[in-house]
């Protein structure tokens, strides 16, 4: 029965022994600073290094999770020098050599986070404690991301966030060990506002339906600020329970409320359901205040657009990235992903892939896996070629500053994946904001905590 056995490494024996010693209260004498030179959580001593992939494979954001997993597997292949290399050749500047990371082959373990913060955290703990993950990455909801990056800060493991859009992830809940490549709700507001003003005019009355949790609230706040700056009025902002399924009781009051725009601050299956049901209520064929009634979905992805089918046509929103952009990075990634899986990658897959590469690159540049050094290498790093134009990993809040996209549901899709049109690439300097507005405290990098 070697099925589940994991070898007793020297470290593990030490840990078990240490636990006994700690239990008897001798430990404080042994923890003198610097006793173990560069000993840190899951220091890879063998010839492989393990990534912990924390992915929602079931639950409301399962589709994004499955796509992220494909992207990570592809990234690991490319880092190990297999396949066509993907974006490794396009990233500038690059320290990647295509022979693993610091000469060690990359392996990975996965855990199903079920789109739940509690489960995500338990899974991350397991991957760190049992499987020896050097870095945890993934996740498809802001709740998960914030919960897991808090844990990673405690254990001293770097967390490269996957799809998370809440302002809080790099705002009030930011952490020294957590990094986000994806954009956020505030940037969606900045990007989308002017386009809405141009398309729908300055005199509009908006009705918000908002998923009743942190991400929904930050997005509602950002969208309110952006639309009210245009001169729009906010008729009502209604909170809906997450995963409600049937939104009809929230949609009926919209009909005669005097609003002429419905803003759906929903994501994943919730957005697919609420949008589909809103269309069933005839909202897109309606007139209000002498104008055509409009629906806006501030954040959407091609996976959701696919789920919503014809209902998404003509609807405005924002995205982090889209596969039919024409820059070399996007072309290379789409080609590589398409060859491997027969379908173009989603924005979730893209951000996951890029995060894996950026971590590997930072380790190569730092010359060590020691997290505080890797953090230093990532902070303030300026790079290009990953599909979003020149990008800065901002040191103050670990948020990437880059171009974002305003997109619109495609009226005449040529394939089932061709569901979005890119309306505008909003430039990086437009969506850059002062990190101080969201508060928060990154916390220290050193001393690097020693995970159990």
């Amino acid at each position: 029965m070697t099925l589940l056995k994991r070898g007793l490494s020297r470290r593990r024996v030490l840990q078990t022994g240490m636990a006994g010693i700690i239990g008897s209260g001798v430990a404080p004498l042994m923890f003198t600073k610097g006793a173990w030179a560069q000993e840190f959580c899951n220091n890879p001593t063998g010839d492989t290094v393990t990534f912990g992939l924390n992915l929602p494979l079931t639950g409301a954001y399962a589709e994004e999770g499955a796509d992220e997993q494909k992207a990570y597997e592809l990234a690991v292949k490319h880092l190990n020098g297999e396949g066509d290399g993907g974006l490794i050749g396009v990233l500038t500047p690059t320290a990647l050599k295509g022979n693993g990371i610091l000469g060690k082959k990359v392996a990975f373990v996965t855990s199903d986070s079920q789109t739940k913060s509690d489960v995500a955290r338990a899974g991350a703990t397991r991957m760190i404690e049992r499987d020896g993950a050097i870095m945890v990455t993934g996740g498809s909801s802001s709740g998960e991301a914030i919960a897991v990056q808090g844990l990673c800060q405690e254990l001293g493991v770097i967390f490269m966030a996957g799809l998370t859009h809440s302002n809080d992830t790099t705002g009030k809940d930011k952490r020294r060990y957590g990094f986000r490549h994806f954009f956020n709700a505030y940037q969606s507001g900045i990007g989308l506002g002017p386009v809405l003003g141009q398309e729908y005019g300055k005199d509009r009355r908006a009705y918000h339906l908002t998923a009743d949790y942190t991400w929904g609230w930050t997005q509602e706040e950002s969208m309110k600020a952006a639309t009210e700056a245009l001169g729009w009025q906010t008729v009502e902002a209604v909170r809906t329970p997450l995963g409600a399924g049937d939104f009809s009781q929230f949609l009926t009051p919209v009909l005669n409320s005097g609003a002429d725009v419905l803003i759906l601050n929903h994501y994943g299956n919730d957005m697919v359901n609420s949008l589909t049901q809103a269309v069933q209520f005839g909202m897109r064929d309606r007139q209000a205040n002498g104008k055509d009634f409009q629906i806006v979905v501030p954040l959407f992805s091609e996976l959701m657009a696919k789920g919503a089918g014809a209902n998404i046509k003509g609807i405005f929103g924002t995205s982090n990235w889209h596969w039919n952009l024409q820059d070399p990075g996007t072309v290379a990634f789409t080609k590589s992903f398409g060859a491997a899986y027969g379908a173009p990658p989603s924005q979730a897959a893209h951000t996951a892939y890029v995060q894996a590469l950026l971590y590997a690159d930072a380790v190569e540049r730092a010359g060590t896996f020691y997290p505080p050094e890797v953090i230093k290498a990532l902070e303030g790093h300026e790079f290009d070629g990953m599909g979003n134009g020149p990008t800065l990993y901002r040191a103050e809040d670990h948020q990437c500053m880059k171009n974002i996209l305003v997109v619109q549901g495609n009226d005449n899709p040529t394939s089932e994946y061709d569901v979005l049109n890119v309306v505008q690439e909003v430039q990086r300097d437009v969506v850059t904001y002062d990190p101080a507005i969201f508060g928060g405290d990154l916390g220290p990098a050193e001393p690097a905590p020693l995970c159990a």
């Binding site: 589940l4 056995k5 636990a19 404080p28 855990s111 709740g143 809940d173 405290d441 916390g443």
Partner: protein, 382 residues
């Protein structure tokens, strides 16, 4: 109080040794890592406490996760406001969840049978939905309540110690991560087990069992059963709060999901799977379910391929494909099949299987491991 029968003492000692030695004997099963061991302890406590209500009185609560969640929130608030030390947090959590259980129990126990179950379920779902939405200032909603550098921690500030880095719960200044955390939880499981054992054997426990077998008759003989069932309800709520607090001690985050009805259902399943009414059964049920959830779900095709390697080519591929349906993401399927098989063939849960095997080996002596266990009783008509 401490006069235990020989059988009870043997059971208690055997249980204690088995628990403390878990890091050793679970090694070959791939489960000897601190996080899972801590969960074994925590959910063991939860199930032992649930059994005090369900196993002894027959009242099937479908909302026990609420007390678990309240315990977690209370503990994290104690970390945030008072001190990072685990002891005040746990006392606070047990008291708060006890009061919460008193309020809910007082109302719910006016009904029995399935009506009681639905009342407890309704209260728990209300707690969950509110924790997720309007109570966010207290619970931090979907993200879950976490510790931050800026927490007040009034007691700790009094002594002026500044911890570097992310704050983590401690015991007298000693961090509670890893195996230390396991032994900390194990101590509480053993204590919880001991108390449950004493309750089962006490006149109070007898009274509860009397309520289970025939409440109407108890009432006719002049007993007011309500205070007894309420006491059992509150005790088991405090057990749940203790378990919730321990989960917050080992991992200082309190999320609303742990109050959802599925979490309440899980502890019901643990108890019935192991054997309701027995002392050891619920703990074994809890361990089994957590083992499935953490180990079976992490088996992937690579591991399977290695496992079936001894088979001839083709056959091994087939075996991998078939078995992969039951592990990894399919672990839940295996669990469902186990439920069906156990309840069809072993209505008393795993402990009945243990007893049957013991019976085979020794027909003359009845098994010493199951003092409280009897054949399943028909429940009251409601």
């Amino acid at each position: 109080m401490l006069a235990m029968s020989r059988n009870d003492l043997l059971l208690f000692l055997g249980f204690t040794i088995a628990v403390l030695a878990m890091p050793i004997w679970l090694q070959p099963f791939g489960a000897a890592y601190p996080d899972l061991l801590q969960r074994f302890m925590i959910f063991g406590i939860f199930a032992v406490g649930f059994n005090i209500l369900f196993g002894l009185t027959g009242y099937l609560s479908f909302g026990h996760a609420a007390f678990f969640g309240v315990g977690s929130y209370a503990a994290v608030w104690s970390f945030k406001l008072l001190s990072l030390d685990a002891i005040p947090a746990m006392i606070f959590a047990v008291v708060v969840s006890g009061l919460f259980a008193l309020a809910i129990g007082f109302v719910s126990l006016r009904r029995s049978g399935i009506y009681f179950s639905i009342l407890t379920l309704a209260f728990a779902q209300m707690s969950y939905n509110l924790a997720y939405s309007v109570l966010t200032p207290i619970t931090n909603g979907e993200t879950g309540l976490q510790l931050t550098l800026g927490d007040p921690r009034h007691f700790d500030r009094l002594f002026g110690e500044a911890m570097p880095g992310q704050p983590v719960p401690t015991l007298l200044g000693q961090s509670l991560g890893g195996f230390t955390g396991f032994y900390f939880c194990a101590g509480f499981l053993i204590l919880a087990f001991f108390i449950a054992q004493r309750i089962t054997g006490s006149p109070f426990g007898m009274m509860l069992k009397g309520i289970k077998s025939n409440q109407t008759r108890m009432n006719y003989t002049g007993f007011n059963t309500k205070p007894y069932t309420l006491a059992a309800f509150v005790i088991s709520g405090m057990y749940a709060g203790l378990a919730g607090a321990l989960l917050a001690v080992t991992d200082p985050l309190a999320g609303a999901e742990r109050m959802q009805w599925t979490a309440s259902g899980e502890v019901v399943l643990m108890t019935i799977l192991g054997g309701a009414g027995t002392l050891v059964g619920p703990v074994i049920g809890a361990w089994l379910i957590k083992y499935f959830e953490n180990i079976f779900s992490a088996i992937n095709e690579t591991i399977l391929a290695r496992f079936w390697d001894f088979l001839p080519d083709g056959a091994d591929h087939f075996a991998v494909v078939v078995s992969s349906k039951f592990v990894g993401e399919g672990w839940f399927l295996t669990l469902g099949l186990v439920f069906v098989l156990i309840v069809v063939f072993l209505p008393g849960g795993i402990m009945e299987g243990v007893r049957r095997i013991a019976h085979l080996f020794d027909r003359k002596r009845s098994s010493p491991t199951n003092p409280g266990k009897t054949a399943p009783h028909p429940q009251p008509a409601e």
